[in-house]
């Protein structure tokens, strides 16, 4: 047990890293809302917001959920269904005419 806890403490980031990640998440959220109101970025608003959202998603999963540092099995259990879900979503958007080729 002691070895296990010691291993976890070594594997996970420090509190300073957590605070830094939270600060970046806050800034990215502010940027998202700012670009929402900017007329100049309207043509690229959708890809820009999706990129910012994906960055926040990756940071929370990677650092707060420790997926960057933990076993690859956990990564497979999460990323596998996530990829299937995203693929189904894209397929459904095409099937329902939201996206067109």
């Amino acid at each position: 047990m002691a070895q296990s806890n010691e291993h976890v403490q070594h594997a996970h980031p420090s509190n300073g890293t957590y605070v830094l990640v939270a600060a970046v998440l806050g800034v990215l959220t502010a940027v998202e809302v700012a670009v929402f109101y900017l007329e100049a970025v309207r043509p690229v608003l959708v890809p820009l917001l999706l990129t910012l959202s994906a960055a926040k998603f990756t940071m929370v999963v990677g650092f707060f959920m420790h997926l960057r540092f933990d076993s690859k099995l956990y990564r497979a259990l999460f990323v596998g269904p996530l990829v299937v879900a995203i693929a189904v979503m894209i397929a459904m958007l095409f099937i329902n005419g939201v996206f067109r080729l």
Binding site: V8, F36, M65, M92
Partner: protein, 197 residues
Amino acid sequence: MSQTDVATLEVHSATGLPSRKILMWAFIGSECMLFGSLIITYLVYRGKSIVGPYPEELLNIPFITVTTFVLLMSSLMMVLALSAVQRGDMKWGKVWLLMTAVFGMVFLGGQVYEFTHFVHEGLTLQTNLFGGSFFLLTGTHGAHVTVGVIWLLSLFFMGVRGRLTQASAETVEIAGLYWHFVDVVWIVLFTLIYLLS
């Protein structure tokens, strides 16, 4: 088996990894499919309501930005709680667990306010496609947050009664995985529902 034994239970699978953590990641994977189906329903019905009220008339971006920020910061408090429990600092472990639950409740309060406002403006589950898909998606997320808050408060009270120790860090970590997943789902919903409205 005593109550303390239950709190410190750590069964390892053939992989050498904790079984409960594997189970939680498998559950989170299945939740990706659940929320994926709800999100795609919302996106397919988006812009297809033939009667109002419409999203652009109702959605309050500044208000929801504040509640989004609160939920993001609750994730920080959750990892700080786990970190404190892992190093045996149960006092701060309890403080951060309580703060996480409180921030979760603030988020839920914001959602209750938003739902109430929408209903007063004439948007219900039956009003139009936006109402049905919006309430289903955000309501399901809110139900998950509610479960998370109850879970966190349970851990906090376990700590108050001295049943949460350094040895039970895995119990807190598993609750944290659930809480962070609820947070990442909202990161997606905030963009898709509010900013791309």
